[in-house]
């Protein structure tokens, strides 16, 4: 029997899974994305390099700075921009804050799917502290348009540094509690251990990235592999696990947040003085060229293929989003499992349909 899960399913959100069932057993799965495709890549060809900033961050509002980051890096590379050190540090701070905002949402929803009400209520509450933190810097709560070609839009106010360090201390304590309350909870282990196992070989073959790859023992992290925007100045690790199951994929996100807090604390403490951006003007001249830039977003490798023909507008903008890269593993994972396991496996892929569709 073939049934549809979604696109109105509250967890799948604008995304449909076609399932072939035998009783309550899933024999085959086929993802059907596209319900929220908005043609970001075509839109980018109609606007100049600065006008592209606000709309490009819309596909992934949980992680909005991180989808702009590689775009800004790519345009900087085409224009040979030297971003001032303070701007580079602020880019890192905003990117890591967004990583926490996104991962917190992910873990909270994983709690929801496992019927763990405390995780979603506590998690969403603490996530708000980081939204407040980002709001003090970027001025908005969701889409900041903060990381722009040439640097960042504005400087960080002095009180935000002090408050940010306080948030870091509080959050460190909270993460210990999440570990105790959620990740070491026997019920959570029972429900997600060994569910949807992705082997290291398959992770490589499908091109999985980010939390999904790192939970399968594949140590990929663009921040370490190809340091950009002063990441080499900070001390942090790339956490990875080898189980490759749903539990590991969620736990890696928590470990990622621990490192993110470390990076934010270091960056706030040694923020260099000086300007935060270059003066580019509303319609910057971008020399002809081709660039492939990438960064580590909350969900994994975010990449841009930008081609400039020397005109005010990009000739081609290709956005390589991590949700799309991890979707490739989905039909492989949701196969020969019970229907009841679908929400856990699906959410553990940290998949965001809007990001996938662009």
């Amino acid at each position: 029997m073939s049934v549809s899960l979604g696109p109105q399913h509250p967890g799948a959100a604008h995304f449909r899974l076609r399932l072939w069932l035998d009783g309550d057993y899933v024999v085959r799965t086929e993802p059907d994305p596209g319900y929220v495709h908005r043609g970001e890549e075509k839109m980018a060809e109609y606007r100049n390099y600065i006008q592209n900033v606000p709309h490009l961050e819309r596909p992934v509002i949980l992680d909005s700075s991180n989808i702009l980051f590689p775009y800004a890096l790519g345009v900087d590379e085409l224009m040979s921009n030297k971003v001032p050190p303070r701007g580079q540090y602020l880019r890192v701070i905003m990117s890591e804050a967004n990583r926490i905002i996104s991962n917190m949402y992910f873990i909270s929803i994983q709690g929801l799917f496992l019927g763990h009400t405390t995780m979603i209520t506590w998690g969403m509450g603490d996530r708000d502290l980081w939204i407040d933190f980002a709001e003090r810097i970027g001025g908005a709560r969701v889409t900041f348009a903060y990381i722009i070609p040439g640097g960042v839009r504005n400087d960080i106010p002095e009180f935000a540094i002090e408050k940010g360090l306080k948030t870091c201390d509080w959050f460190d304590k909270r993460m210990d509690e999440y570990e105790k309350m959620f990740f070491n909870n026997p019920m959570v282990h029972q429900r997600s251990d060994g569910v949807g196992v992705l082997s290291r070989e398959d992770a490589i073959a499908f091109g999985a990235t980010g939390t999904v790859a790192r939970a399968s023992g594949l140590r990929v992290d663009v921040r370490k592999d190809e340091p950009y925007s002063s990441y080499e100045d900070f001390e942090f690790k790339t956490p990875f696990l080898t189980q490759g199951d749903s539990w590991a994929r969620a736990y890696v996100a928590l470990l990622d947040m621990r490192e993110a807090v470390k990076i934010i604390r270091q960056a706030l403490k040694k923020l260099p003085p000086g300007p935060v951006r270059l003066k580019l003007g509303p319609q910057p001249r971008v020399p002809a060229g081709e660039v492939y830039s990438r960064t580590e977003a909350a969900r994994g490798e975010m990449s841009y293929h930008i081609i400039s023909d020397g005109s005010p507008r990009p000739y081609r903008v290709k956005i390589g989003v991590p949700s799309n890269k991890n979707l490739r593993a989905l039909p492989h994972l949701i196969k020969n499992v019970h229907i009841a396991d679908i929400p856990i496996i699906f959410n553990s892929l940290n998949f965001w349909p809007v990001e996938n569709d662009r």
Binding site: P33, G34, H37, G39, E41, K42, M43, Y46, E77, I204, A205, F206, G207, A208, L218, V220, D225, E226, G289, E290, V291, Y292, R294, E301, S303, H305, I307, Y315, R316, K318, G320, N324, K325, L327, R328, D357
Partner: protein, 131 residues
């Protein structure tokens, strides 16, 4: 392109051979993404495979494998049997640029509506509605 990026231009006859070579001999096993470009002035379409590596020491390296195809008859071999992960990206390139990947297991629409009856939208001669 910057350091640690390499673009290899090949053609449809050799692309699979080159793909297997860079995967097996150079260690580029981790597919990142597949991009298409419509070079309308040259009357060509381009497919670019961006491939990363999990081999220690070259994780920062991205190899771009590119092939150019005439716009009138855009046919290229699929590389699904070289990198399993290119199945969806190739499907996306197929619907957005109208490139026919021969041997691809499923080229139905991924993002576009099933009844899309127009030019492939990322081609340069397709104009967004209202423009």
């Amino acid at each position: 392109m910057k350091e640690r990026r390499l673009k290899i231009s090949t053609n449809v006859d050799r692309v699979k051979e080159v793909g297997i070579f860079v995967r097996d001999s150079l260690g580029f096993d981790h597919i990142s993404t597949v991009s298409g470009v419509d070079w309308i002035a040259q009357n060509q379409l381009e497919v670019v495979y961006f491939i990363g590596s999990t081999t220690p020491g070259q994780e920062d390296f991205i190899l771009a494998l590119s092939e150019k195809i005439p716009r009138e008859n855009p046919v290229a071999p699929t590389l699904v049997d070289v990198w399993r992960g290119v199945e969806y990206p190739e499907r996306e390139t197929h619907e957005m640029f109208g490139i026919n990947f021969q041997g691809h297991p499923n080229q139905s629409h991924l993002f576009l509506p099933e009844d899309w009856n127009d030019l492939p939208p990322l081609r340069k001669d397709y104009v967004s509605p209202g423009r």
